[in-house]
């Protein structure tokens, strides 16, 4: 029997040798062998300890039963025009089976400007919903039970204000903050690398993130104050190894700063979550997540001495991969995103969101959002991805790649240490420089046809006519938003408002945690722009280093 197996292996290897085969490399740099064997995956050591889901280091998943017990949350990204229109889209998504919300804000809100600010011209309600005061949140979440639907907010530079508004809304509606769930993206360090909605200098920006972590640890313990985003770092040109490495360095930086305030790792680490990218080689991404889970658990346990298992969990949202989608033949993106959904499920994600097929053009139409929702539902209910945990665990190829990834992510993290740590590497533009050059190389390779993209550099249709409809910009909604803001400013108690904003200023000057005074101010309808304006007076603004 044994002899026979050896013969088979020999035959296989010889066949590979005799043919001229093209070398294949993954984006992360690993060479792919045509065939993987037990030896590749487990080495010579036959006593390799078996890894199980729900057990440290959680390579195979953070829960023992994963989707068998509870499938991933579907949380499609949505928000546009005014809070009124956005509320309608939220209701539509919930009615159609979505189990969480993922809120998109317009760029003025994200940059901390009010809707009537001259710099917000043309941006109000364009790429997300416009929020100026708590009144807008009251409208946006009307009729939505915040206990049943968890809300995730894609907000960064002005996150502390929007989180304060969300907590104020919950309190006003009678929810106990001790039980309130939800997530804020609130990962400012990655905004300096990609996405670009930074406001304050790097150190002050990090201080604000830490304020929210500290406040949540003490008062809103089930809320996830930060979702560290490898996603945008990868979209900016990082390879999958760098995506994980830089995200881990960022999460460590927030953790270090939080611990400096005397907070124990186990008081907040379990509420840190991640947002990762999916596009690219299917196996490479799956291995990336398995290795990521293992490594993050080890970092938390061995480096940070976290006692609780929950502190060691890498919890994530994954499914999107905007850089993989194309403007050409946009319907092809439906197929691409279905593969991305599969990768995400096979990787053991907690929450899933897909890019919609029309996102290379603009924000999603209702139809496009529905197709994305159905894509995830078809996968969840029709093809068996929820039946067994980590179904690719034990695959020689996946296990080999998982080990390779773990080592490579460690190496990449060491490189960041050499650059003086992630905060310094971001502040000096070191990381931005590295990833932007890779983005250029990748674009060049695509245009030269070295990386194949269907519909773009192969199987291209010349004179393409678009058969898809696009989401239009609602000018009227933007005008109404400005009117509503002006009315609110006029009718609130402005003497009281001055005092509340002064309190925020004082706290900023004294380096106090800003969350309590911001919550007090937003409850009386202070605007996003007013609070951010006060903080700009104290902190100044970020001066972007120019690197490319």
């Amino acid at each position: 029997m044994e002899k026979k197996t050896t013969d088979k292996k020999k035959a296989c290897t010889e066949q590979s040798r005799s043919e001229e085969i093209k070398k294949v490399f993954l984006e992360s740099g690993f060479e792919v062998k045509p065939v993987y064997t037990f030896k590749d995956a487990y080495g010579k050591n036959l006593n390799t300890e078996e890894e199980l889901p729900g057990q440290y280091p959680f390579t195979r998943g953070i829960h023992p039963l994963m989707y068998r017990k509870r499938p991933f949350t579907i949380r499609q990204y949505a928000g546009f025009a005014s809070p009124e229109e956005t509320n309608e889209r939220f209701q539509f998504l919930i009615k159609n089976g979505q189990t969480g919300l993922n809120v998109a804000f317009d760029l003025s809100t994200q940059c901390g400007l009010d809707s009537d600010d001259s710099r917000a011209l043309g941006e109000v309600g364009r790429v997300g919903m416009a929020i100026d005061t708590l009144e807008d949140f009251e409208i946006a979440f009307k009729g939505i039970d915040l206990d049943k639907i968890t809300v995730s907010m894609t907000i960064n530079g002005s996150a502390i204000v929007l989180m304060a508004m969300y907590f104020a809304l919950a309190e006003k509606r009678g929810y106990d903050l001790k039980n309130l769930r939800g997530t804020a993206q609130n990962d400012i360090l990655k905004e300096f690398i990609g996405r670009g909605t930074w406001i304050f200098p790097v150190d002050k920006s990090v201080k604000l993130v830490v304020d929210t972590i500290e406040y949540c640890a003490k008062h809103v313990p089930k809320y996830s104050p930060v979702s560290v985003c490898g996603y945008h770092i990868r979209e900016s040109g990082a390879n999958p190894v760098q995506e994980m490495a830089y995200a881990f360095c960022i999460a460590k930086a927030y953790s270090d700063e939080t611990m400096k305030r005397g907070i124990d790792i186990d008081e907040f680490a379990s509420r840190l979550s991640y947002n990762f990218d999916i596009y690219g080689n299917l196996f490479e991404q799956i291995a990336k997540f398995r290795a990521g889970r293992r490594l993050w658990a080890k970092i938390m346990r061995e480096e940070y001495h976290a006692k609780k298992d929950e502190s060691c969990w890498l919890r994530m949202i994954a499914g999107g991969g905007g850089a993989g989608l194309t403007k050409e033949q946009p319907e092809n993106n439906i197929v691409r995103t279905a593969y991305y959904a599969l990768v995400s499920a096979l990787s053991g994600t907690q929450t899933m969101a897909l890019c919609t097929y029309d996102e290379a053009f603009t924000i999603p139409t209702e139809k496009a959002a529905e197709i994305a929702l159905r894509t995830m539902q078809i996968m969840m209910h029709e093809v068996g991805v929820c039946d067994t945990v980590d179904p690719l665990g034990g695959s020689y190829y996946i296990e080999t790649l998982t080990n390779q990834f773990e080592n490579a992510i460690c190496e990449s993290m060491k490189e960041v240490d050499k650059w003086g740590g992630i905060i310094n590497a971001v502040a000096t533009g070191k990381i931005q420089e590295a990833v932007s050059y890779q983005a250029y190389e990748r674009e060049k390779a695509t245009q030269e046809g070295k990386i194949l993209k269907v519909g773009v550099n192969c199987y291209r249709k010349e004179e393409e006519k678009h058969s898809v409809e696009f989401h239009p910009y609602n000018v009227e909604a933007a005008k109404k938003q400005v009117e509503k803001l002006k009315k609110k400013r006029a009718e609130r108690n402005n003497d009281e408002m001055k005092k509340l904003l002064d309190a925020v200023r004082e706290d900023a000057k004294k380096n106090n945690n800003l969350m309590p005074s911001i919550i007090s101010a937003v409850k009386e309808y202070a605007t996003v722009g007013e609070i951010i304006g006060v903080l700009k007076e104290v902190y100044g603004e970020y001066n972007e280093p120019i690197f490319f």
Binding site: Q110, F361, S436
Partner: protein, 127 residues
């Protein structure tokens, strides 16, 4: 040639503009990049200072029409005779209206780097 690349408005997508910056540099040009979130006034003032042969605006948030009209206005006010071009997430059907608004050339989504670099090279002969 000296080229000024700029990001007007609040849009934070800078992968494309940086890719182009690398390509232009490799093609032998001198590239000045403004960084994110500049007002049109900032950009025109920078152009006055740098005196580039061409200005490139990169806009992906959908505000290209409004920003290009503003650019046209400010360029006229400044009486600078520098051609400016625009690219980013620009639907093909918006190209002609942007060119009517004063853009020397508008590049729709999906334009290759080669096309833009080639256009700038040809522009040299005409200005």
């Amino acid at each position: 040639m000296k080229i000024l690349l700029a990001k007007p408005g609040l849009d934070g997508h800078d992968v494309g503009v940086k890719v182009l910056a690398h390509a232009l540099k490799e093609a032998g040009h001198e590239v000045v990049y403004t960084g994110l979130r500049k007002s049109i006034e900032d950009i025109v003032a920078r152009a006055k200072k740098e005196n580039p042969a061409v200005i490139g605006l990169s806009i992906l948030s959908g505000t290209h029409q409004i920003l290009c009209e503003k650019m046209n206005e400010e360029m006229k006010k400044s009486s600078l005779q520098i051609p400016w071009i625009v690219g980013g997430n620009i639907p093909a059907e918006d190209v002609s209206s942007l060119e009517k608004s004063g853009a020397k050339k508008a590049f729709a989504t999906g334009t290759t780097i080669e096309t833009v670099v080639g256009y700038i090279k040809d522009l040299k002969g005409r200005i």
